[in-house]
Every structure is written in structure tokens, then in C-alpha cells.
């Protein structure tokens, strides 16, 4: 019986690559390609597994992006605070 192809997260991985976290985005694209090729060769279980991996990498990419932005804002406010206190740095 023909099964539906699992979601490959290619579009999400491209977004991650362009907007923040290159390594996670590239890993996501690699797994997306595995989803497609395994599904095409009839390996539904493997495709499902690769789909879960792709999702995992996309989520890590999102989390890493949020961490970078938060750290950056903390750093910015810390520097701003120091400047207001008149510190030399």
C-alpha cells in the first residue's frame, strides 16, 4: 500500500539556514534529502526516521537562534548599563 511521504522540513531548514544558524540548517537539508530519497526507494520507515531527525535539527536551529538573540540583547544592555555608569572599557 502506498504511504504518504513524511514531512521533510526542507522549507523550514532553508529558513533556518538563511536567517540564523547555518550548521543546523545544513543538517536539516541533508535529512530532508534523505526523507525524499528513502521515500522514493520505498523505505518508508527510513524516511519517517529521517523526517524526525530533520525536525530535531530544525528545532535546534530555532533554539540556537533564540539563544543568540537573547545573549546579544543581554550583552547590549550590559554594555549600555556600563556606559551609563561612566565606566571606561
Amino acid at each position: 500500500m502506498e504511504q504518504r511521504q513524511p514531512k521533510n522540513y526542507l522549507v523550514e531548514s532553508i529558513l533556518v539556514t538563511i536567517f540564523c544558524c547555518l550548521p543546523f540548517g545544513i543538517a536539516g537539508i541533508v535529512f530532508a534529502s534523505q526523507v525524499n530519497s528513502k521515500y522514493a526507494s520505498g523505505d518508508y520507515e527510513g524516511a519517517k526516521k529521517a523526517s524526525e531527525d530533520a525536525k530535531k535539527w530544525m528545532n535546534w536551529g530555532l533554539i540556537a537562534g533564540i539563544i543568540v538573540v537573547v545573549l546579544y540583547l543581554v550583552f547590549l544592555f550590559a554594555l549600555g548599563g556600563l556606559a551609563m555608569l561612566g565606566g571606561d572599557f
Binding site: I14, I18, A32, N36
Partner: protein, 131 residues
């Protein structure tokens, strides 16, 4: 689940307003690319914030100038969105090339070649680097 989508929509609207009014080339409080900041190497995504500003102001040439890959990304995402919406509303099953086995490989090769080329500091490759 619904709350998540509403939150994402609100965030998108706030970010759209932010990047419409603020030109990232002129201010220095927006996050910079961690790779560029630490190594001085452009990543394939460098210039995306500036490209977003240009796009929201309908300056397509400016988008190309900042990050040509951004345009390709937009085309891919737009294509996926259109096909999905079409299939959903017309109950059709039009083939989506996002699911073709060769598509992700081709995109990966394009991204890596683009990454290498934009870091070559000579004409014409430096046209690919963000301004």
C-alpha cells in the same frame, strides 16, 4: 496549538514593522551574524536582515545586493506555499518538487557554492557579499 500560531503571527507582524522602519545598515543594535563577528567570514545568510528591510520597502535590487540567496529562498518558500494552498483548496494532488529526491541536494550545492563565492574578495564575486 492555536495559541502558538497566533503568537507566531503577532511576532511576524512586529518584526515586519521593525524591519520596515529600521535600516539595519544604519543602526548597530541589531544582532550581527555570530560567524562574521568571530571570524570575519560571511555565511550564506549574512545580509538577510538588510535584505528583509529592502524587501519590505519593495526594493528587489537591494535584496539582490545584500543576499542573492535570500531571493532563491523566497522563491522556494513561495512555490511550496502556493502548491500547498492550491492542493488544499482545490482538493488536487499537483506534484510538489520540494519532495523530489534531487531538490534538497541541488539546494545544498547552491548554498555551499554561494557561500564560497561570496567570500572571494575580488570582482565579480564580491558582488555577492552583503554591502
Amino acid at each position: 496549538m492555536k495559541l502558538k500560531y497566533i503568537g507566531m503571527l503577532l511576532l511576524a507582524i512586529v518584526l515586519a514593522f521593525l524591519y520596515f522602519y529600521i535600516n539595519p545598515s544604519e543602526v548597530d543594535f541589531l544582532p550581527k551574524c555570530p560567524l562574521y563577528l568571530t571570524t570575519g567570514v560571511y555565511c550564506p545568510g549574512c545580509g538577510s536582515q538588510r535584505a528583509t528591510h529592502q524587501l519590505l520597502n519593495f526594493n528587489i535590487f537591494g535584496v539582490f545586493q545584500q543576499n542573492a540567496l535570500f531571493v532563491l529562498g523566497l522563491l522556494v518558500i513561495g512555490y511550496h506555499f502556493l502548491i500547498s494552498v492550491f492542493n488544499y483548496f482545490f482538493k488536487k494532488n499537483k506534484y510538489n518538487y520540494i519532495y523530489h529526491p534531487k531538490t534538497p541536494i541541488a539546494l545544498l550545492i547552491i548554498i555551499i557554492v554561494f557561500w564560497i563565492l561570496r567570500n572571494i574578495p575580488h570582482y565579480p564575486f564580491n558582488l555577492l557579499a552583503p554591502k
